[in-house]
């Protein structure tokens, strides 16, 4: 191994690490605010990438129908409650957002020649389809059991993960997809050949991390989420709705997932079940951060990415083993250094 190989491997590791970092941040965020271990994070990655790929091949992405169905269920639940309470205007609002919006989106997609739109518009449409599934999923699956033990929430996540993989197979088919790069431009830095897509991944990840930092530090909603993460009951007493916090968190997590998918779709072939492995590596990183610390999770993600790149060079047959075995010393170290808090029953 010489310097140039080490540099190329580092570049590869950092690119993958950036994606893992985004996913790890989303996992930490979701766990901190709602105590949900968000296993289906990876599925949002695959849904994002494959929805974009379907648009580019000129097919109406089936995910939009999933959005319509989820929206209809939310409307039935929330709209029904609002009507019962005699809040007609609120019911109309619920229906508008949860039913009107998906239907309008489906109509727009059906009417447009989606494969001829500029890439930026396709990306926005992809996000417009996939991201609202996050808060809807929270409303339908997690809100009714928001105070259940972590284990119950985890089991719901596993179920949703399996359901989403199955639906993914139905929507996108068994074959993999690759989308064209955002631009063909590439940069030569000594031995390094940095493609535009790599730069996109790094820049967008960095912007997103800074954006999240600002969001949590400066805005009222961000502070509300932080408050909920630190003390759920206390935050509720201060007038912060745990439902709103949950939906907002899932919105962010779905956004991060779908955006990651869109970013990596030109770099690698995405299958309907690829998301799980990517999500798991984000999870390893989140564990390094103890499912609580954002900076540690981000550092952990870069470490996972780099370890993976170098392991694939030195011992490619054992790459996954090496990456996932990392979790054992990390857990050991965490359980020895941090002090354990029993979960309230």
């Amino acid at each position: 191994m010489d310097m140039s190989i080490a540099l190329i491997l580092s570049q590869d590791g950092i690119t993958n690490g950036a994606i893992y970092a985004l996913l790890a941040l989303a996992l930490v965020l979701v766990f901190a605010v709602t105590r949900v271990i968000f296993i289906q994070q990876g599925e949002f990655v695959a849904y994002g990438a494959l929805t974009l790929a379907m648009m580019q091949s000129g097919v109406l992405p089936a995910t939009v129908w999933m959005l319509v169905v989820m929206g209809a269920l939310v409307t039935a639940l929330d709209g029904g409650l609002a009507l019962k309470a005699g809040q007609g205007r609120r019911a109309a609002g619920v229906a508008g957002w949860n039913l009107g919006y998906p239907l309008a989106l489906a109509a727009a997609l059906g009417g447009l020649a989606v494969d001829e739109l500029p890439l930026a518009v396709q990306v926005l449409l992809t996000l417009a389809i996939v991201v609202p599934m996050g808060p809807m999923m929270y409303r339908l699956m997690y809100q009714p059991i928001a105070s259940a033990p972590v284990l119950v929430l985890l089991i719901v996540s596993v179920a949703l993960h399996i359901a989403m993989v199955g639906l993914g197979l139905l929507f996108f088919g068994a074959e993999g997809q690759r989308t064209p790069a955002f631009s063909e431009f590439s940069l030569e830095l000594g031995p390094l050949m940095v493609s535009a897509q790599t730069l996109w991944v790094l820049v967008v990840s960095a912007l997103l991390i800074v954006g999240l930092y600002q969001f949590f530090g400066r805005t009222l909603y961000g502070k509300a989420l932080r408050a909920t993460a630190i003390n759920r009951v206390g935050a509720q007493l201060m007038g912060i709705s745990p439902t709103l916090a949950g939906k907002l968190t899932f919105f962010l997590a779905a956004f991060i997932g779908a955006l990651s998918g869109v970013l990596i779709a030109p770099i690698t072939t995405i299958y309907y079940d690829t998301g799980f492995l990517i999500g798991l590596k984000g999870f390893v990183a989140a564990i390094i951060g103890g499912l609580a610390s954002y900076p540690l999770a981000a550092v952990g993600a870069l470490a996972v990415g780099l370890l993976e790149a170098f392991a694939s060079f030195w011992a490619s047959a054992y790459k996954e083993v090496i990456v996932f075995t990392l979790i054992i010393p990390v857990l050991l170290w965490r359980s020895l250094t941090s002090h354990h808090v029993e979960e309230e029953e």
């Binding site: 197979l169 068994a174 690698t268 492995l277 790149a309 060079f313 490619s316």
Partner: protein
């Protein structure tokens, strides 16, 4: 008492009915979903084209999906043999799943015809594998075609990258042995997982030994990733792939990076371009036309032909097994096994099968041709 008699009579009738209408039950395990789905789906489409009567007996097919998962494949094989009592198993699509199913076939003494490539499914012959046959060319036949092409083109050093599973390992063993015999050095050997999203590390390692050619032993669309990475990293030399990539999804995913890729395939892939003198042309074309009539022009792939040839073998073997016993019994399964072993010069879509006690594949060099990807499609190398 009366009720009991009626029941007994009914039971007797039921038994009489089953013996009178003995049918041959074929259990099929294939990977219609999961990573190997692009192989399993054409196989599944082909099963519906297989003969519904052989030697005057009705044949019924029970198809189960293993989702490209070894454990599920074994579970399905067990269900088919124990619950459904099938006379023969066709399956599975992938080598790891087929290797694992060998135990079930041997334990229940049910003949099994695998549609997976690894030579280890039927060799070395032992007490278990005597129940197992397979239709795809061995890695060895395919590897010898590749190595023949390499040595004809002065390749002296090769880098190898294969799947980190039984498929990749099987190829590595075969390839290394044959390459060294021809004086070709395997300078680097790497592995990757079908689900990997990056193989940059492996690609660098492959290129760092300055090979004359790179050989990628993977199947389906995941095999495009190493090739794309190698080209991105500036590797200009020839790239060989296995016949495992010979489907149109691979062309779609790999795009222009796959231009010039060399690979051996079964004759069915090139059935229309084969010279008329080729011994497999007629039987291969028969399958191609039947498949495309049902599934649309240009839809045929080698994988479906493996399932087709399992049907061809059954058609050749079942009549002689039927001479002695009726289906649905252990004796029939044993007779069918012996009959399959006795198949001689039977032309399938993949090649000419001549089985023996030692060779449960029975294919020779007539079962493959070398092709190149040119202008985004497959073309026969002269």
């Amino acid at each position: 008492m009366k009720l009991r008699n009626t029941l007994l009579a009914a039971l007797g009738l039921a038994f009489a009915a089953t013996t009178a209408q003995a049918e041959i039950k074929v259990g099929v395990v294939l990977s219609a979903t999961g990573p190997a789905a692009s192989l399993g789906i054409p196989e599944k489409n082909t099963i519906s084209l297989l003969p519904t009567t052989i030697g005057g007996e009705k044949v019924s097919y029970i198809v189960l999906d293993d989702a490209s998962d070894t454990t599920t494949a074994v579970k399905n094989a067990r269900k088919l043999t124990v619950e459904d009592g099938v006379d023969v198993i066709i399956g599975s699509t992938t080598s790891p799943a087929s290797l694992a199913m060998v135990d079930v076939a041997a334990e229940t003494k049910t003949p099994m015809i695998s549609m997976a490539a690894s030579a280890r499914i039927v060799a070395p012959m032992d007490d278990k594998k005597r129940w197992v046959f397979k239709t795809p060319q061995n890695d060895q036949q395919m590897a010898s075609a590749i190595i023949g092409h390499m040595s004809a083109n002065n390749v002296k050093r090769v880098s190898f990258i294969g799947f980190a599973n039984a498929y990749g390992e099987g190829w590595y063993e075969q390839f290394k042995k044959l390459a060294e015999a021809k004086g070709i050095e395997v300078a680097a050997s790497e592995r990757f997982n079908p689900a990997d999203t990056s193989v940059t590390g492996q690609a660098l390692k492959l290129m760092s030994v300055k090979p004359d050619a790179v050989f990628i032993a993977g199947s389906g669309t995941p095999s495009a990733l190493p090739q794309k990475t190698l080209r991105e990293r500036g590797y200009k030399g020839p790239i060989y792939q296995t016949h495992g990539v010979a489907n149109n999804d691979f062309l779609r995913i790999c795009g222009k990076d796959c231009e010039g890729t060399l690979l051996p395939v079964g004759p069915v892939q090139m059935a229309r371009s084969l010279p008329d003198s080729h011994p497999v042309k007629a039987s291969a074309l028969a399958y191609v036309e039947k498949y495309e009539a049902a599934n649309g022009a240009g839809s045929v792939s080698s994988f479906g032909a493996y399932a087709w040839d399992a049907g061809v073998l059954l058609e050749a073997a079942v009549p002689s097994a039927l001479k002695t016993v009726k289906p649905g019994s252990a004796e029939f399964r044993a007779a069918l096994r012996d009959a399959l072993e006795g198949v001689k010069e039977v032309a399938g879509a993949t090649g000419i099968y001549s089985m023996s006690a030692e060779d449960h594949l029975g294919l020779d060099d007539r079962s493959r041709v070398m092709i190149e990807i040119r202008n985004g499609t497959w073309s026969l190398l002269k």
